[in-house]
């Protein structure tokens, strides 16, 4: 009685215990997919190059974003600020809400209104003498430093100049 290998015309298959399809397609997949340590080091170094490049891209992007933050913009009159207690404005672009207040010591300060926790808008809280974020009860003092709640980073400060009765924003201080 003939075996199956003999019927399929593969007399040597039994001896070598290799299926006939393997002999017809002698591709060594394991060897083909094998990655040596040298190849892995080369691959990782290429990845390292890409990651370092991406880091420098963030530096260039920050320069481009920061470029527009030194324009001068008229915010309003100091007398209006005295009446209202605080003044909302947008600086350096119309997408960046900011808030200006007169401190009890008489200093004029302004900060980004975007909370450094999760970007809610902070409001001036006269009783707490600071900026309050209603979303998660974060609190910043009038120096912009976080003093309560979840925020850990200070509010970006807007540089102001007062000429006569008029207040101008002249730049943003980076953190």
């Amino acid at each position: 009685m003939k075996t199956r290998d003999e019927e399929q015309g593969c007399a040597g298959c039994k001896a070598s215990s290799t299926p006939k399809w393997r002999q017809d397609f002698p591709i060594d997949w394991e060897g083909d997919h094998y990655v040596t340590r040298r190849e892995m080091v080369k691959f990782l170094t290429l990845g390292s190059l890409l990651l370092a490049s991406a880091n420098w891209v963030t530096v260039v992007a920050s320069k481009l974003l920061h470029r527009g933050s030194h324009v001068e913009r008229l915010l309003g009159s100091a007398s209006d600020l005295e009446k209202a207690g605080s003044m909302l404005f947008r600086y350096p672009t119309n997408d960046d809400p900011c808030i200006a207040v007169r401190t009890p010591e008489g200093n004029l300060v302004a900060y980004s209104q975007v909370c450094t926790h999760l970007s809610c808008a902070v409001v001036y809280d006269r009783t707490e003498n600071g900026f309050f974020c209603p979303c998660h009860h974060g609190l910043f003092n009038l120096a912009g430093q976080p003093i309560a709640g979840p925020p850990t980073r200070p509010l970006p400060r807007v540089q102001l100049v007062q000429r006569g009765d008029q207040i101008f924003a002249v730049g943003m201080e980076t953190l």
Binding site: R37, V41, K42, L51, T58, T116, T174, L175
Partner: protein, 75 residues
Amino acid sequence: MSLRRQGTILFSAMLAFVGGAVVLQLWLLTVSVEALLSGAYKTLAPAAAGSSVLLLINAGLLRYVFRFDRDAQGE
């Protein structure tokens, strides 16, 4: 210990070091992107410099691998 086994251990250690450096660079990149989005620009340049130092170390090790292979083929 045979020379071949020493070489295997050496290349394994180098691979582990380069892998660790790449993970560190990945962490530096995530920190940089977070700092960029939050406006904390002062941390970006030191992070990029640190990432570049790690790249130089990795490139130095890769150069050693190339020289090692070239010397081995020359013998």
